[in-house]
Symmetry: C2
Subunit: 363 residues, 2 copies
């Protein structure tokens, strides 16, 4: 097991990465929260609970109360937050209760948000069960819900008390989701961790085969990179923006394809190819480095083809909520482990790399 | 004009109290936020906007976008937060936008909550237009929305950037609301500010007549008391609990009468009589002091009569969300300006003072 400490201005908590961690959760929570009697609530999906619920629940003296959220973005909405909060009230949850978010990224985002606003905030713990959630969304304190007009437009910064990334739960994850989640680790390597990049470059077969030791290494390194960045810039006023590498175009692709065609990681994969192409065109990266980066992104593919209109992507990119007061920030790479934030990407440049990306994605 | 500084662990901001402040808002905001271009959104009620909107909007270079929330607890719900957030997205609000909550307590609570969770938090300003909101709810950072099962069960701690309590806006406030709001100032005097209590005791006629100078004095003192308490204990883990004097029974009365019969301040008035009676029975207060306190509470009445069942009030008091891990905290008074928190109030004691209160309220 590896333990990574997240330390930000407003919170500090451990991220545990290892195999067979689920069984250790109750004991660790008892240690962390002392003997104070706390009611425990678990937010999970029916599928995860049927696969792993018994393993998690076994060690609790008092069985946790279970709340369910069906899978899919359709349920990542305020009406569900209201329903879940009402169920918690009815079950007697108070300010000393603890919420465990046990599932993928949507469960983590919604569980964190529910904990953030239930009685103005209760503590919570993340147990991510998808690779994407383990390497990315469970760490950093971003929580939220969608609006009809866009993803994650409502939310809070609310850090968990602990994160348990149990590599064993990935055994039941569909292969496509494992592959897609790895793009966030590829991103971690590209923007800041050259050693992680080299490992992903050399051991792609082992990693993609789902080897637990290899995955533990990749997850721990990805989390450590994110923890460091978030520790320096909790609220995304500076450095944290580099985590959006591949996300400006990635988010636009997701929006323009109705969040149905591609998984988030796959859209980020395409978005990283776009950001790399723009880095090449601007001459901020040497071709040799660019070729290495492109080869690794493609090695974790193949990225699924998709079709969309340039205009639709431009509209979606313009509405990217990361843009403050009208400035379009864009993350470029100068080489493996190196990223920069630029603010002067023109509409013409953006349109041109979007057209390039669409041409690549049609093949 | 009086300026009170609120300084907590997580925020510091001014509360301006005075006459004719609305006109000064745009200039003060320009000073506070510098020249950075910020879109301004105003959440208000149709009535407040028709009475005071022009006065507020006059000084803005770019007219603010106005969002409306109809009056009443019915609209203090998550569905309205979702609608308002969607309207903000459609109108182009981003993370650099500023929200002004311009109205009574519900507008303040909902506006603060909307600002807390819109794109994970944007800055906001409170312009309370009821006495209750000016002396109490606009200061301290508590924001929230109701659930069907209870009030303020969903929310955030999110401090405003500034509060403008314009006494002039109270001219259009119904007399009953003025009277009801003053109970929170009476509370402020009882629990911590003996000088404020004496002023309210001696000048009750002047204060109740709506004299602007007298109200300014009362509002400023009430805000200063709350600011001090919140500065010491932002998250209600200790001292802040004294602000709940009169609120355990007060909230129960509101719940048991369906939030229709009494205004919040009136319910708190009854709740303070109940807390005073319990203080007498426990012998923690000298009778002379108790008589003074009772006289002042009654001077700001008459409190409207109501009927309810003891059981209904007991149920409602038991569900009071202020109780952590099953402990029922209760605030008593030891004399003018002095309050204590106790945790050993038995069901029998509570039932007995509730029965006493109901008998008083029937007369």
């Amino acid at each position: 097991m590896r333990t990574i400490a997240v330390q930000t201005a407003s919170a500090s908590y451990p991220v545990f990465v290892g195999s067979g961690l689920l069984k250790t959760v109750p004991e660790k929570l008892r240690k962390q929260f002392g003997k104070e009697r706390q009611r425990v609530f678990v937010l999970t999906s029916p599928e995860i609970w049927s696969l792993w619920g018994e393993t998690l629940a076994a060690g609790f003296d008092e069985k946790p109360s279970v709340l369910f959220l069906p899978p899919g973005e359709t349920y990542k909405r305020m009406a569900q937050i209201e329903r879940l909060a009402t169920e918690m009230v009815d079950a007697g949850a108070d300010r000393s209760s603890l919420l465990i978010a046990f599932g993928g990224g949507i469960i983590g985002d919604m569980g964190g948000f529910l904990a953030a606003i239930y009685m103005r905030g209760i503590p919570y713990v993340q147990i991510p069960t998808t690779l994407l959630a383990q390497v990315d969304s469970s760490v950093g304190g971003k929580t939220g819900s969608n609006l009809a007009t866009g993803k994650n437009l409502i939310g809070s910064f609310h850090h968990p008390q602990a994160v348990f990334a149990d590599v064993s739960t990935l055994k039941t994850l569909p292969a496509r989701e494992l592959r897609a989640g790895l793009f966030e680790s590829v991103k971690a390597g590209i923007i800041r961790d050259a050693a992680l990049f080299r490992y992903l470059e050399k051991q792609s077969d082992l990693v993609l085969s789902g080897d637990e030791i290899a995955l533990q290494k990749v997850i721990a390194a990805s989390v450590a990179m994110k923890a460091e960045v978030v520790g320096i810039d909790e609220r995304e006023s500076g450095l944290r923006m580099i985590l959006n590498f591949g996300h400006t175009v990635g988010h636009a692709i997701e929006a323009a394809t109705g969040y149905k065609k591609l998984l988030h990681g796959e859209a980020v994969g395409w978005g990283m190819l776009a950001a790399l192409e723009l880095s090449r065109r601007r001459g901020v990266i040497a071709e040799k480095e660019a070729a290495r980066i492109e080869a690794v992104i493609r090695a974790y593919g193949p990225l699924p083809p998709f079709r969309a209109k340039v205009d639709a992507l431009m509209d979606a990119a313009g509405r990217d909520k990361k843009n403050k007061a009208g400035v379009r920030r864009f993350i470029l790479t100068e080489g493996v482990g190196q990223s920069i934030v630029v603010e002067d990407v023109t509409d013409a440049e953006l349109e041109s790399i979007i057209a390039w990306t669409l041409a690549e994605a049609k093949r």
